[in-house]
Every structure is written in structure tokens, then in C-alpha cells.
């Protein structure tokens, strides 16, 4: 039996890990610029975002938030016995987040939305594509590439908490009670980053794996942006 050891942040990353992290940073910056071109985010950043925008944003995020914990849980189950440490880390992560959507629901109601409408909202085309892709990748054996997906999704969580929540509170009369979902992710940044570094060190052991991680980050970034573009499509 392989002994399960907790993953810890390495002092230094291997050259392959470093190169992958550089590529991941570039993928993140590209994603952020992509977000700045999405209409609903442009309104948020330019200060023309209103209460209806906030409701629609939450309405369209909910499906992804519910599905989010599913792909993480499935990814955990797809890691074999040689990756039990990775599996533990990912299960912990899925457990932390699998009821986030309840926080989102409370925010939606606080923002004046109707719970029946929220629960009846289907996945938008971007959410369909994102969910489909993530579930497909998570079903593969040892889905190392999904580290790239976590990179984007975690990074976005932090951006929501630090940047979006404050803007929402400034622009519409919800107060902090109505931005708990956006705010939630700020609490333990450093722990998340250390976990990512640890996973990168553990999993990014070959050029192929590095390419897979970076490519997955790029795809997830594009699909996430598509999901947010769809907020304005209906």
C-alpha cells in the first residue's frame, strides 16, 4: 500500500514545474483580459452595472457552482492508488466547496431575486460546454491536466472576492450580506496557493503533463468566459 502523505508547498519547483507555472501565469493574464471584454464584466468594471446585472450574473453562475463540486469529486475518484495524496487533497477541496451554491442562493434572494426562477434556470451554452469538458476530463485516468482547471477556477474565485464583490457593493444596494458567495473565496488564499504549488510540484513531472495542465487552463479560461458572455445573450 502506498503511504499517504500530506502535500506541502515545495521550497523550489523543478525546471519543468517552473516553466509550467510561467505558462499558467500567462494563461491567467490572458483569461483576465478576456474577462475584461465580456459585456457584463465590462459594465461591472466601468461602473454601469445595475441590480438586474447582479441577479443575472448569479442566475448564470449557479449551475456552474453546483457542477463545480461534481467534477472535482469525480477527478478525485479518477486518481489511482499511486496518487492517494493527490486524491486526499482534491477530496478535501470538493468537500469545502460542494455546498457553495447555497450561499449563492441566499445572495440571489438578498439581491431581490426569486428562488423559484433561480432554481429553474438551465445551464447556459457556456456552462454546458464547460461542464461537459470538465466532466469528460475528470473521467480520464489520473486527470493531471485538471490542475490547470483548478488554477483558473481558484484564480477567478480570488478575483471575485477581492475585486468583484467590492464593486458590486459600491454599485448596487446589496451590502455585504448580498455578496457572500463572491466574498467567500478570499478567506484562505495562501492555503490555496500553497496547495496549488504542492500539486504542481507533485504532478508536473514531464513535458507532456506540463503541456496538458497548461492546455487545460487555456480551454477552461475560454469556456468560462463564454459562460459569462452568455449572461447577455438571452
Amino acid at each position: 500500500m502506498v503511504e499517504s502523505v500530506a502535500l506541502t508547498r515545495p521550497e523550489v519547483l523543478s525546471p519543468i514545474g517552473q516553466a509550467a507555472l510561467r505558462q499558467l501565469l500567462l494563461a491567467w493574464f490572458d483569461f483576465e483580459r478576456r474577462l475584461s471584454r465580456v459585456p457584463v464584466i465590462q459594465r461591472l468594471e466601468r461602473g454601469t452595472f445595475g441590480p438586474a446585472d447582479y441577479q443575472r450574473l448569479l442566475l448564470h453562475l449557479r449551475q456552474q457552482v453546483i457542477e463545480g463540486s461534481r467534477w472535482i469529486a469525480r477527478a478525485a475518484s479518477s486518481f489511482d492508488r499511486d496518487h492517494t495524496d493527490v486524491r486526499s487533497a482534491i477530496i478535501g477541496h470538493a468537500h469545502d466547496e460542494h455546498r457553495d451554491y447555497e450561499v449563492l442562493e441566499r445572495d440571489y434572494v438578498a439581491a431581490g431575486g426569486d428562488l423559484v426562477t433561480l432554481r429553474a434556470q438551465p445551464r447556459n451554452p457556456g456552462s454546458e460546454a464547460l461542464h461537459g469538458y470538465l466532466m469528460y476530463r475528470a473521467s480520464e485516468p489520473n486527470p493531471v491536466g485538471l490542475l490547470g482547471a483548478m488554477w483558473i477556477v481558484e484564480g477567478l474565485g480570488e478575483k471575485m472576492a477581492k475585486d468583484w464583490a467590492e464593486r458590486v457593493e459600491r454599485l448596487i444596494p446589496v451590502g455585504r450580506d448580498g455578496t457572500q458567495f463572491l466574498r467567500y473565496h478570499a478567506s484562505n488564499d495562501e492555503t490555496h496557493m500553497n496547495k496549488l504549488y504542492a500539486l504542481l510540484d507533485r504532478l508536473c513531472t514531464s513535458e507532456e503533463r506540463a503541456d496538458d495542465i497548461v492546455r487545460t487552463a487555456a480551454v477552461v479560461g475560454r469556456l468560462y468566459a463564454l459562460q459569462l458572455e452568455e449572461v447577455d445573450v438571452e
Binding site: V12, L13, P15, Q18, A19, L21, R22, Q23, L25, L26, F29, E32, R33, R34, S36, R37, E45, R46, G47, D189, M193, Y197
Partner: protein
């Protein structure tokens, strides 16, 4: 294709250094009241002294053109090349003394260089690199054998208390409008570039820049009114007086967007590493035009983790004593760095100019060589 070498540098800073506590006395109290933000802004940018080309009675002691000329003369005085032999004059500034003609024409006239090939770059901080780029390209294609690059900045005229009072006084001056008042100051720098090395000089290895105006909104500007919902520019008002009253002639910085400058500066560096042009481990000095000291962010931890950070001892800056002179900063910084006399043959330097106005980040890689 021939090369491009920086064979001489010079700079000019007007008047005596002005300490933090004297800045507001010189620029004037808006509405007769002290700024509540000054010390906070000065603490964040870390600048201790700077120079102004206006005096306490707000007379201009040196025009922008005069500063440019003095910096160019200081540069040429160190070179055996006679001024009249300069083939290309490539200039940049954010705002010339005159709106028309181009700044380069005024500098040429001030220097008295005959029949020169003229170039004026238009932009903000990174216009310096655009001016150097034009010079380097002209040498590389072999059309000219030397080029004088002159960059000068006189922003203090914008910061007189009377300008703010005309836009509504203290109550109309928000953080975004006041931020640059305690950040920017005046000065000029010049570099002589030649297609052959001369003595100990700097080879220009490459220049690259990445602009992100397509994805981010304006961060620093003059010309837009205070009301963000107003779409007119200062030129669309019936008179300049109306534009000024609407705050459309004030210089503003949208400080909420400043984080992007750091991110995009890193983004460009990572691209250059990826392309194989930049090797952080082999870099000897980093001359970075950064406008403020509030640089501490998680990105730097990530840079360390991905092997792309530059240790503190390799950074060179004169920000704290010479201030932030916008486009002229990098020109003056290199002059000060060379004056230290610590550059050794074979040393590699990265000059980095991240411009916040609408996010253009520019890089120049130089190597110290001996002819």
C-alpha cells in the same frame, strides 16, 4: 544589417531638489487648504525629492523644449560626434509646450541641428521606448549612422492649484485627480545611438512592447471630464473654459486599475522568457520605470516560484531622488546608472517601461560592450 549602440547619455533636471513637505507649497494649496491625501500618496510612491520646472510663483523656469535641449547637449558634450552631424532626431514627450507642431521640431530648432531626419513619438511613459525603437530601426536598416533620442517631460504645469480651482476647487478634486499631483515631476534625458560601438557603450540587443488597450479601459488621461457618464472629450466643448470647468483638462489616474500594470509587466516578461529572448538568471541589472513603491503583491511570490524573479540587489532605480518624470524616467535612469560607473563589459541590462495610461509595456535589452 548593422547594429545599434548607445554611445552617450545625458540628462537635465530643473531647479533644486524639492522635498516632500515643500511640494504643496510650490504647487500651491488648492482652495487655500492642505491636501489630506498628500502624505499618503507620497508614502506609497516612496519618492523623497524631485525637480520642477516651475517656481513658487508658478513661472516656468525652463520650457519642455529647453529641458530637452539641455539634456541633449549634456549627452552630446560627452561624445566626440559633433552635434551638426546628428542624422536622426527622435523625440518624445507627453505634452509639448505647443499643441502643434510636433515636439521634435521644437527640439531640433532649439538644438540647431540642420537637415535632420525627424521623428516624434506620441504617447505617455512608453513613448520613450517608441522613440528609441524608431532610432534603432533607422540605424539597423542602414539609412543613418547615428540617432539622437531626446525625451522630456514637464507635467508640473498641470498641477498648479489654479488648475484645480478652475475645475471646481478642493471639493471637485477626488483621489483620482490628485494622485498624479504628488507623483509626477519634471526632467529630460537623451541617448546618442550609433551603428558602430564607440568606447565602452551599450549594445541594443532587442526592443519589444505589448499594448493591451483592446482589453482595458483608460487608466491615466487628460481630456475626459470628471463625470464618468460624460462621453465628450475636452475638444468637444464650446470653449476650453467650459471644458476646464467640467474638469476635462485635469490629469487623472484611475487608481483602481493600477494593479493591471504590474500584471501586464509580468505578462510581457514571461512572454520574453518563453520566446527565449530573456534569461532572468543571466540578467545583471533591471532598470524598471515604476511609478510607485506599492509593488508588494502575490505576483512576486509567484515569480519567485516560477524562476522569473530578479533579486532586489539587481534592481536599479533613481525614483526616490529624481522622481517620476514619465517618459523621461527611463532615459534619466540609464544616465544615472552609467554615471555610477559600475557597469562591467558583458553585463546585461533590462530596461522596462510599463505604461498605465492605456497599458503598453515596453522592454529593452542592452549589453555593455567595449569597442
Amino acid at each position: 544589417m548593422t547594429g545599434a549602440y548607445i554611445t552617450s547619455t545625458g540628462s537635465f533636471l530643473p531647479g533644486p531638489p524639492v522635498g516632500n513637505d515643500d511640494v504643496e507649497q510650490l504647487l500651491g494649496l488648492v482652495g487655500g487648504r492642505r491636501s489630506r491625501l498628500r502624505s499618503r500618496i507620497q508614502k506609497a510612491n516612496g519618492i523623497k525629492t524631485r525637480h520642477y520646472a516651475i517656481d513658487r510663483s508658478h513661472r516656468t523656469t525652463h520650457s519642455n523644449e529647453q529641458m530637452a535641449v539641455l539634456a541633449a547637449q549634456a549627452c552630446m558634450a560627452k561624445s566626440p560626434l559633433p552635434l551638426r552631424s546628428v542624422g536622426v532626431l527622435s523625440c518624445a514627450t507627453t505634452q509639448g509646450d505647443l499643441v502643434i507642431p510636433g515636439f521634435g521640431s521644437m527640439v531640433q530648432a532649439g538644438l540647431g541641428i540642420p537637415e535632420v531626419e525627424l521623428h516624434t513619438a506620441h504617447g505617455v511613459c512608453s513613448s520613450s521606448v517608441m522613440a528609441v525603437r524608431a532610432a534603432v530601426n533607422t540605424l539597423r536598416v542602414g539609412d543613418q549612422s547615428n540617432a539622437l533620442v531626446v525625451v522630456s517631460e514637464l507635467s508640473s504645469r498641470l498641477f498648479k492649484n489654479t488648475r484645480y480651482e478652475a475645475a471646481g476647487g478642493r471639493d471637485a478634486v477626488d483621489f483620482d485627480a490628485e494622485f498624479l499631483r504628488f507623483m509626477l515631476s519634471d526632467g529630460a534625458g537623451a541617448w546618442l545611438l550609433e551603428c558602430e560601438p564607440r568606447g565602452r557603450c551599450l549594445r541594443v540587443d532587442w526592443i519589444r512592447s505589448y499594448s493591451h488597450a483592446d482589453s482595458l479601459r483608460v487608466c491615466m488621461s487628460i481630456g475626459g471630464p470628471a463625470d464618468p457618464k460624460e462621453t465628450r472629450s475636452c475638444q468637444d466643448y464650446a470653449t476650453y473654459a467650459e471644458a476646464e470647468a467640467a474638469g476635462a483638462l485635469l490629469i487623472r489616474q484611475d487608481v483602481k486599475l493600477l494593479d493591471h500594470v504590474v500584471k501586464l509587466g509580468v505578462d510581457g516578461a514571461l512572454r520574453l522568457i518563453d520566446e527565449g529572448l530573456l534569461d532572468m538568471a543571466r540578467l545583471d541589472r533591471l532598470l524598471c520605470h515604476y511609478s510607485s513603491h506599492h509593488f508588494r503583491s502575490k505576483i512576486f511570490d509567484m515569480l519567485k516560484m516560477c524562476g522569473a524573479s530578479v533579486p532586489a540587489e539587481k534592481w536599479f532605480t533613481n525614483l526616490y531622488t529624481k522622481g517620476n518624470t514619465g517618459s523621461a524616467s527611463i532615459m534619466i535612469m540609464l544616465d544615472d546608472f552609467l554615471a555610477e560607473g559600475r557597469a562591467k563589459v558583458g553585463d546585461t541590462l533590462l530596461c522596462m517601461v510599463p505604461e498605465s495610461a492605456r497599458f503598453n509595456v515596453a522592454y529593452m535589452h542592452l549589453t555593455v560592450v567595449e569597442a
